[in-house]
Symmetry: D2
Subunit: 165 residues, 4 copies
């Protein structure tokens, strides 16, 4: 299997939150994605591009348009978008509706990477694998599973991603 | 995308080593795979079966035959085999030569899961994703990449998996 | 040196906050002090009593009176009080003013114990040591140092405890 | 309470072992003590001096003489010695027999600091506190407790430090 060139587009979300010990709040500083790739001993040819570092509850339509545009202009055919889980399905729909001829996989985390018990590393490994293999289309990779952009929702009660009827 | 039923066959390796604080040695106790699936918030339909818990340098031909046989008799079509990295390529070749009509992905870790800086969670997420999507065949998922069974080797100098000429 | 019986009075604070992955907020569930004592392989004769689990910014005079009363009625002569850092100096003064004939050491953490980079374990080890050795009085143990109750303040700009002029 | 100047003398031991992912062995690289002081947000005036980085089972009488000599020539009155647990009691006796007019506290860890579940940070906090407060003499700080140099042994069966009859 030959290596596909990949790009990771960072938008923020729980994935990248840090604990600010001066005021006890969760904040964004820099993305942890490069450190996560090092920890995973990744040898993929991957570019990391930080588009924004925001909570996905704060993501506007204009922000989503920026994500779509960044995916469009990326030279790579295979993209991973890190994203807050709360509105990941909305950005997935914006990307899916754009119908770009690329493989785009959104992923995120329920717990910040810097905290001991994060699912972030598992999800990043999963998303990068799906992005290398799946045909063009927009997908959400969470909970070890992969969903099409038009058939996924986050269950707010359980925090689990599931098929949308 | 519908869920494929998966089985994880545990053979040991660095993945599952623990530090024995009484004698300062690395030992096997139980597999950490179930805990890793919990940490990854996995919702995959997955069976975990511990075949053996050994260092892959100690793996004999008879052990490899057991792994092949376990893959053959597993009711699932999609399998992940956790394995020490030192001889992973040998077991991959035994599995590849058996030519089972199943998707089999071997993975492992450079650092034990219980230590802070393990690549195990990244690799497990990656292997489970590849196993869900790739066609029948035997593969090695390490360093974020996926290799066919007949074209992979571990570079002992760098600890990195790479294509075999 | 013979073992002094100790009591740890838990009041909450950053020490004991957990990340709630359903709403992304920091919450109290149970105290992590028992788990921290296990991790520290503590063999001290110590009772853990959870008085309250609150943010120290929410601590009222009535709460402080409860802490003083709990110290008074404790059968042990040597006490550690876990406390949020923001108002630790106020509770120290309430305890100091009460003039109980006991050794009372307040401590806390800048980062929740469950996050990877917490100072909590260091501070707990430090506080328990000071509590075993110092004469009767009220103290604050933070940043590896120990301060008398009437001469300590938290520098809000740096997050560091220092002598009060 | 005014700050006592402290020196930490590093000799190695489990405290400072790292996992070498190329050969799967535990090795010494650099001491983790400076990083542990940062994690503990220590603001103590402390010098860290690495005397040696060895397993305490490999410590010879000549090594012990070097430790005694380093304690003697240190400008500080208050010293912490990090040490492997297996022969900590022997070095404690060598130091105790030397009768230096200083407070010397030996400590170590049952699990390497870089692994997730280490008692090292707890022990370091504890040892630094005892070293600041106790009168001149040689002590062992482990399991949250502090022992005089002539009355301590490690129970090899349980890994716990206890009073020697």
């Amino acid at each position: 299997m030959h290596d596909a060139a990949l790009r990771i587009l960072v938008t923020g979300g729980t994935f990248d939150k840090s604990y600010d010990e001066l005021d006890g709040r969760l904040r964004f500083r820099d993305s942890h994605v490069p450190e996560m790739l090092r920890l995973g001993r990744s040898r993929l040819a991957v570019e990391v591009e930080t588009l924004m570092l925001i909570d996905s509850l704060d993501m506007t339509d204009a922000d989503r348009a920026r994500v779509v545009e960044a995916c469009r202009r990326a030279p790579e055919q295979r993209l991973v978008v890190t994203h807050g889980t709360d509105t990941m399905e909305h950005t997935a729909r914006a990307l899916g509706a754009a119908g770009l001829p690329k493989t785009i996989v959104l992923t995120g985390a329920m717990v910040p990477y810097t905290f001991g018990s994060s699912d972030g590393l598992f999800n990043l490994g999963s998303a990068l694998a799906f992005a290398q293999v799946l045909p063009a289309g927009t997908y959400v990779a969470m909970n070890g599973r992969c969903f099409g952009w038009d058939s996924v929702r986050k269950n707010r009660g359980t925090g689990v991603f599931e098929e949308r009827a």
